[in-house]
């Protein structure tokens, strides 16, 4: 019978793009991956990988096998969920990936509440940007992802992933104090600080600017929203800031009326399909939602 471990290795090679990258992510030597995949090809009698340049690429048979591996892993996921549901009380080790700005403010409170309510539950938090977190979720390195989601910018891979919206967070435009009551011309010549090029947040922000009638000059890029906020306070750039971050830092500048104020991002909770009903994951989702609703203390 096919060895599930080898199938997972092949799948990771597809996800990561090379044997070396797959080995690094799974904490194996690259040699181990090469050997196991060679054995997989030998036992199936089918060529699954072909050399392309100095890397490898999956053949059609390899791609098919990865799709089938996804189906197998979904079935395994359901089995594990059913087992975990045998205990009604959340327990065990659960690894969660979250985006930085959320982790800093919300997650500590959520983790405290979880630790108090469920002493058997061991939640481990990892910080990754949304794209990396999604790959880690699919490759089963984490069990859940908490990230933000901007309207009109769907995550690239939703296949086999279940998404729950935990809360909505208004996002408003902020201008330096000297530019208050700005005209469209001011917006057009303003320097902006945004999240890194290519991220969902940056794509969304540019869309909002274009809808308003100007193309933003993205002078600074950072995934740290507190940096954005300080840049606004210093009068160096304009930015879009979620209320969550503004509350965290007690920003002294009010939002501008020159940009739409009805925009909002969602905070979403992602798990692999089939795992939604696992008590531990449901409890984590609830705890984070609760932490998002409750006012900041301290």
């Amino acid at each position: 019978m096919l060895d599930l471990h080898r199938l997972v290795l092949l799948r990771e090679v597809k996800l990561r793009g090379s044997m070396t990258a797959a080995a690094r992510e799974l904490s194996y030597s690259h040699s181990a991956v090469s050997q196991q995949l060679a054995l997989l090809e030998k036992e199936t009698g089918v060529t699954l990988l072909e050399k392309v340049g100095r890397g490898v690429k999956l053949t059609a048979a390899g791609e098919t096998l990865v799709r089938n591996t996804d189906a197998i892993l979904s079935a395994v996921e359901r089995a594990e969920t059913d087992l975990a549901s045998a205990h009604s009380v959340p327990h065990g080790v659960v690894t969660v990936a979250a985006f930085a700005s959320i982790s800093r403010t919300i997650m500590p409170r959520a983790l405290s509440a979880l630790a108090e309510s469920y002493p058997e539950l061991d939640v481990r938090l990892q910080l990754y940007d949304p794209e990396a977190a999604m790959i880690r979720l699919v490759s089963r390195q984490v069990d859940a992802v908490i990230t933000d989601s901007y309207p009109g910018t769907e995550p690239p891979t939703t296949e086999g992933i279940t998404q729950t919206v935990l809360s909505e967070d208004p996002v408003r435009g902020y201008l330096p104090a000297w530019a208050e009551g700005a005209s469209l011309e001011t917006l057009r010549t303003m320097k902006w600080v945004m999240e890194p090029r290519g991220s969902a947040a940056a794509r969304w922000a540019v869309q909002v600017c274009r809808a308003r009638g100007f193309e933003p000059i993205v002078a600074h890029e950072s995934s740290d929203l507190l940096f954005h906020l300080r840049m606004v306070e210093e009068g160096l750039a304009a930015a879009f800031l979620p209320d969550m971050v503004v509350r965290e830092a007690a920003l002294t500048v009010p939002p501008t009326a020159a940009l739409p104020t009805d925009q909002r991002r969602s905070v979403v909770f992602l798990v692999r399909a089939g795992a939604e009903s696992r008590p531990a994951l449901a409890a984590i989702g609830d705890a984070v939602a609760q932490a998002l609703r409750s006012p900041k203390d301290i």
Copy 2:
């Protein structure tokens, strides 16, 4: 992640009824099975087995896990089928279980034809009665089963099994020469030879007799239809005989007109769901169907 090998062990314990029986079928020591299942319980944190008498019984969680294991194995089966389909020419080792009377007459011709057409294909034949063959198919000890099927007596487990009718075989009643043109009273006092009590064939035969208006006296039981035939020839008993067996042995007594002549059994080809399209299995099914159609040569 759950270890598929351990899940298969648990499943086999359910199929066979005890750890010892499961170990015997899978060629392990009973201790190995006990140890692995103890580890499975430990790693899942769920009680899967409970002692009942000197044996074990699956808990509700264990039963659920076995159902989930079936789903996982189905997905693995599809993956293996897709891999095998990557070669268009049938190849590899395929294990087939067949019922005795079919094996003797049909299978040698079918295997010869397969060996000639597909030198890469290695078909291995095992003789088992229909019930045992079905368990071995489900537990993946064999890849296909060829058996007979009588109307009104469906096999007990069809879940996850795909059935194809290869041919229909008329079954006629035969009386000893001295009883030809028998009355209903003669049928009622006649001794019969049938297949073993409880088998599908025996249940069907008794049904036919009852529909004709009498309860057969089952004096002799054997799964060997050639034995049935010799008993008829010797004038010792009446029997139902498929044409396939009659042709094989060139019976000298004609079928009786005192019993219905429109009855027939089916010769069916069974594979696990998902494996139908595997070229090797399709080729074997075709070859057996061909052998069933072609006239007997020596």
